[in-house]
């Protein structure tokens, strides 16, 4: 077996998340897939990284790479973790697939001192236009599912998310709005960002 060489190039949106993480911190990546981000963080940010992944196939691949990953569900398994156990809890492109996003968000900021959340923006103009002009549920480059087979059951817009954070007393430390390729369009979550961005990455902190 060859020695594992961590990849120094990851998806742009994952890179943005990685850039928000202080070196040497304790990180929990929820919905970590095969562990690409974790592997990067452990290798290049010297983090103590753990992961939770719903699909056993993803878990097996991650563990076989030497990552500390368990099979688990963001909706049911976060309650096990003690408060303040991690410096960062990351939820990448998963919030919209949870059954109770509000409780998940609360748990993220209970377990972690900070949370990093990324999600597809349902306020993106093509999504709005698809529904407005087409009269059909929007299918875009970043939202490829049909309404009947989508795992995404709780879509929100950037504005919705900011409103929820305010309601929950969560402080937004950073809000990046991105295009489909993950390039930053706006630093912040204003009206234009909500209209012109396909996805968003938020760095959150308990107030």
């Amino acid at each position: 077996m060859n020695a594992k060489i961590p990849s120094s190039s990851i998806r742009v949106d994952l890179q943005l998340i990685a850039d928000m993480v202080e070196p040497g911190s304790r990180v929990l990546d929820i919905g970590c897939g095969e562990g690409t981000l974790l592997d990067y963080l452990n290798s290049f940010k010297q983090t103590d990284g753990r992961g939770i992944e719903l699909s056993m196939a993803g878990v097996r691949k991650a563990v076989a790479q030497g990552l500390s990953v368990i099979q688990g569900d963001a909706d049911t398994d976060l309650k096990d973790y003690p408060s303040g156990a991690f410096d960062y809890v990351i939820l990448s492109q998963t919030l919209q697939a949870t059954r109770n996003p509000k409780l998940v968000l609360r748990d993220l900021l209970r377990i972690g001192r900070r949370a990093i959340v990324s999600f597809p923006n349902f306020g993106y103009w093509r999504v709005r236009a698809g529904l407005f002009f087409g009269g059909r549920m929007p299918v875009t480059k970043s939202l490829t599912y049909q309404w009947f087979d989508t795992p995404n059951i709780h879509f929100c817009t950037i504005a919705d998310f900011i409103a929820l954070c305010a309601e929950e007393g969560i402080q937004v430390e950073k809000a990046l709005s991105l295009n489909a390729k993950g390039l930053v369009r706006f630093d912040g979550g204003g009206l234009l960002a909500n209209l012109l961005s396909e996805q968003a990455v938020f760095l959150l902190k308990r107030s």
């Binding site: 077996m1 103590d48 753990r50 563990v63 790479q65 030497g66 398994d77």
Partner: protein
């Protein structure tokens, strides 16, 4: 020389190493007794490195022994994890020092009910103190002390071996870097105890058992022990595995016989399992070891909170279960994982897809091996041990 002395001599002839704890260093057991002398029979593979940081303790299951990767002296079969052990393999003898000892209470060289009670000069039989998983681990600790090893790189085991791995990590967290409990649980469930009891009753009700004193009467409760093994063996497999292997196939005949001979292949197979088992295993050991498993309850030892068993642990865990294991089903492993999460421990958890039942941990399961390999490589890196050499 009487028969029972011959019996003990026979076990003294078994290959492998021995450590004897004399009367000056008795083993303090959970039941309150100080046991001495205690012999610990063990095998090792590979070499201990200079800073003694590369030792892996392998813990065997109920009817296993320390012949992990060598021909079994009684059955002539390959070691039970022979596939995993060797140069360049997952348990890489080029890099790791592997230790496996026969459990306390066992019958392959370590002190157990067939050993001589120094107070009487006769085999202990049922006078042997009832031992626990923690007692087995205490004996292993003494063996590790004997090697001067402060901290094991890893403790690994399946089934009862997994219980020992959990016990090690819980009770001696500073002496374990990584722990791999496989197809196991933090307690014996009611169903587990029920099956163990069926096995014990089969032994106890054999007229040759003679209240455990059968060695003194030059006999053995073979029929009872064979039935115990047959019943237990079913629990190690799965419905799917049994069906795939045997279906309703008839054994050496074209039609059913309207009798109670072994018409079906599965009957013949179980009878064979039973009859070969009694040639290599002591019935009293079977009683003691199954009882040790029954008594195992890590949460019970910690105020009913399993998480308390691991509070503050720095041990890296890899918990592995198998989908078709109904003896130690995945929820048991998940309970361990939840407890470890509750103390923010470093844990990996994989449920391996297999239809081979509980015994899958002993079989060629590529996904299991990939998981184990990945975890050990990651742990070795954190422990500062060399990576596996690239195979040409």
């Amino acid at each position: 020389m009487s028969d029972f002395l011959n019996l003990d001599d026979q076990s003294a002839d078994l290959p492998g190493h021995r450590l004897v704890l004399g009367p000056d260093a008795p083993l303090h057991l959970d039941c309150g007794i100080d046991l001495a002398p205690v012999t610990i029979a063990y095998s090792t593979y590979g070499r201990l490195n200079a800073d003694k940081s590369n030792a892996i303790l392998i813990c065997h299951a109920l009817t296993g022994d320390h012949y992990v990767a060598e021909t079994h002296p009684l059955t002539g079969k390959p070691g039970w994890w022979e596939e995993l052990v060797g140069p360049g393999r997952i348990l890489d003898t080029d890099r790791y020092f592997l230790i496996c000892s026969n459990v306390l209470g066992g019958c392959m060289g370590s002190t157990g009910p067939a050993s001589i009670n120094p107070a009487t000069g006769q085999p202990w039989c049922l006078n042997f103190p009832v031992i626990t998983i923690a007692d087995m681990v205490r004996a292993q600790v003494r063996l590790i002390d004997h090697f001067g090893i402060d901290k094991l790189f890893c403790v690994i085991g399946g089934s009862m071996g997994g219980m020992q791995a959990l016990e090690w990590a819980s009770r001696y967290p500073d002496r374990v870097f990584a722990a791999v409990p496989i197809a196991t649980a933090a307690r014996h469930s009611a169903q587990n105890i029920a099956f163990a009891e069926v096995g014990r009753q089969a032994v106890l009700s054999d007229p040759e058992f003679k209240n455990g004193d059968y060695p003194l009467h030059d006999t053995k409760p073979s029929a009872g022990l064979a039935v115990a093994r047959m019943a237990a063996h079913i629990t190690y497999l799965s419905e799917a595995a049994l069906h795939r292997k045997f279906g309703r196939n008839l054994q050496g005949r074209d039609t059913i016989t309207y009798g109670f001979g072994a018409d079906f292949q599965v009957e013949s197979y179980l009878r064979h399992q039973g009859s070969t088992f009694v040639d290599r295993f002591d019935a009293n050991s079977y009683l003691y070891i199954t009882r040790a498993m029954d008594y195992f309850d890590l949460a019970g030892d910690h105020g009913g909170q399993l998480a308390n068993a691991f509070r503050g642990t720095k041990v890296r865990f890899c918990v592995i279960s198998f989908t078709s294991d109904w003896l130690f089903p995945t929820p048991e492993s998940r309970a361990v994982v939840h407890a470890l999460n509750a103390v923010a421990a470093n844990v990996s958890f994989v449920e391996v897809e297999s239809d081979k039942g509980h015994d899958a941990f002993l079989l060629d399961e590529p996904e299991f091996h990939a998981t184990l390999s990945g975890f050990l490589e990651g742990a070795a890196e954190h422990r500062g041990l060399p990576r596996r050499r690239e195979t040409p």
